[in-house]
């Protein structure tokens, strides 16, 4: 009956976290959902903290843009993970990029580890780890469809980066395909008033 789904994305500068959140938010927007998205990132420098919050709902969102509790998370790196873990709602889900997230998660949530960097590289898109993860997230949670993600990604890529569209599409598909959909991950919209 939960009508608002929160997703936290975290990583370090250069991993494409903000773009990933953007793609997901646009995908949900295309599907007529209410969407709110807020990103925090350091300056121009590489290697800094980068976080983002996406809330998707089927009625006007009541949550403020900085959420205290999240239904789900995608963590591309563990460097800035510590303060985020306590925010996860019990019964939620977290996707970890196994390639760069080495610590353990003890929160009472479904934990899914994926070798996103490798999968991205296999898909011919070495920088596409986050795309892989949101593809998998779509498969696991059903919050947005894969088609919407692809469309959202096309929209989000700036005109001078058009050449990356195909590689990103491959990464989204790869992630979607690699997700273990049989683990009983919590699904969005089930029982919601859609």
């Amino acid at each position: 009956m939960l009508a608002e789904y929160e997703l936290l994305l975290t990583g370090i500068g250069g991993q494409g976290v903000q773009l990933g959140a953007q793609v997901l938010a646009r995908a949900a927007t295309r599907e007529g959902r209410e969407v709110m998205f807020f990103g925090i990132y350091g300056g121009m420098m590489r290697g800094g903290n980068t976080d983002s919050t996406v809330v998707v709902a089927d009625a006007p969102i009541t949550a403020p843009p900085v959420v205290a509790r999240a239904w789900s998370a995608i963590a591309m790196h563990d460097e800035f993970w510590v303060p985020l873990e306590p925010k996860l709602r019990p019964g939620g889900i977290v996707l970890l990029n196994d390639s760069t997230f080495t610590t353990t998660v003890t929160a009472p949530v479904t934990v899914v580890r994926l070798p996103a960097t490798e999968l991205a590289a296999e898909a011919g898109n070495p920088m596409g780890g986050t795309m892989v993860m949101i593809g998998a997230y779509s498969a696991l949670t059903g919050l947005v469809t894969l088609d919407a993600l692809v469309e959202g990604m096309r929209e989000a890529i700036p005109s001078y980066r058009r050449q990356h569209i195909e590689a990103n599409e491959r990464a989204l598909h790869a992630g979607f395909a690699a997700a273990p959909t049989d683990i009983g991950a919590p699904r969005a919209w089930e029982g919601a008033l859609t």
Partner: protein
């Protein structure tokens, strides 16, 4: 209920949505100078106004920006400027005089915190001027209030400020920027265009209370009195909303983005069975005195939650007028850059502050606060001698 996708519905950051709303409200001139977190408002105006047949100038400074907007408004065009704290401080002379000149200027204040509440509601300009100040809680409301701002500015020939913040500017939402309809307004007979020069009926847009020889003459005093009495009518534009106040023992007042946190936290506390409620001023000036008074009717205690060292709390105290004690439950808080709203703006933090207020406990410390608490020196603790008989 799923909202249907309309062609104009899109994910966009608050700044862009506000700018699109302004253009929809026929804003055709903007001038500004970059300053975080206002910069994007300027950028979107620069990107979007020319195609709408308007002009956006990247002014060389804030004072020049407000001057340019002053000129544009004087021609009858809908025009705006904006900045954040420091930049708006530089515009204060123009803001107060714009009130005397009855210029319907719209001001985008993308503030760095809520510590500019006094600046917005009482200003550092001189004299008895007041601006209508609209404080949207989120992007969706911002789209409506920006259009209202242009309407009210023209309705009252008075500056109107949009008080936003870092979150409003940068949060992206799926929004559809749609036109809000308002009742028609009279022609701007007072605006200049040169066409009446030499006819004996030329016009004066001026804060000085002067007119042309032979026209009704105010003088500085008359103009100031005229404006002061006008303000009494403008006070009718006060707006607020409230929730859970019918039987609330504890009522929290908050505005802007932080109000969303308060509303969310209050809903959680209600789920726990606590009789708490909230009231949110939408206009900071005119302050919704009646709404706040009504919302706090059953209150044993009232809290003012704000990201500042306590400014809104003054207006709450004036409104509540002793009917219940009013406590300040906010605090100074920002991110390390000084631009964002900081660690205090967190639903858990906010909820615990409201709970403490409700239960009569002292407020928990602001996260990180202890470290920078002021330690007075001995000479500062000694009383200063009397100097007059």
């Amino acid at each position: 209920m799923t909202t249907t996708t309309t062609p104009t519905r899109a994910l966009m950051e608050g700044s862009e949505a506000l700018v699109r709303a302004a253009i929809l409200a026929d804003c055709r001139f903007f001038a500004g100078y970059p300053m975080t977190p206002f910069t994007e408002v300027l950028e979107h105006f620069a990107a979007l106004l020319p195609d709408a047949g308007g002009v956006c100038i990247n002014a060389e400074s804030e004072i020049e920006a407000v001057g340019m907007a002053w000129g544009a408004v004087a021609t009858g065009a809908r025009a705006a400027t904006g900045s954040t704290g420091q930049g708006l401080a530089l515009m204060q002379e123009s803001f107060s005089e714009a009130t005397l000149a009855e210029l319907p200027l719209v001001i985008f204040n993308m503030s760095r915190s809520q510590g500019d509440y006094f600046q917005a509601t009482r200003g550092g300009g001189h004299g008895d001027y007041r601006h209508i100040v609209l404080a949207p809680q989120d992007v969706r409301e911002g789209v409506a209030l920006v259009q209202l701002a242009f309407h009210l500015a023209d309705k009252w020939r008075n500056p109107v400020m949009i008080y936003g913040d870092y979150l409003l500017a940068h949060t992206q939402e799926a929004v559809s920027v749609e036109r809000v309809e308002f009742p028609p307004l009279p022609e701007k007979e007072w605006a200049v265009d040169g066409s009446r020069s030499g006819t004996g009926r030329s016009r004066s847009v001026t804060p000085l209370g002067v007119t042309k020889v032979g026209q009704r003459h105010f003088g500085q005093e008359g103009k100031a009195q005229y404006i002061a009495t006008k303000m009494a009518y403008v006070e009718r534009e006060a707006r607020a909303e409230s929730g859970f106040c019918d039987d609330a023992e504890t009522v929290v007042v908050a505005f802007g983005s932080p109000a969303k946190f308060v509303k969310y936290a209050v809903a959680q506390l209600r789920d726990e069975g606590l009789r708490v409620g909230w009231v949110r001023p939408i206009t900071l000036w005119p302050f919704p005195v009646d709404a706040v008074r009504a919302a706090t009717r059953t209150a044993r205690i009232v809290g003012s939650f704000e990201i500042s060292s306590g400014q809104l709390v003054d207006d709450v105290r004036i409104a509540v007028a002793g009917a219940a004690p009013v406590e300040f439950i906010g605090g100074v808080s920002s991110d390390h850059s000084g631009f964002g709203l900081g660690r205090l703006l967190d639903v858990d933090e906010v909820r615990e502050r409201i709970r403490a207020l409700h239960e009569g406990r002292p407020q928990p410390p602001v996260p990180g606060y202890e470290e920078f608490t002021y330690e007075p020196a001995p000479h500062q603790l000694a009383p200063t001698p009397e100097v007059t008989p």
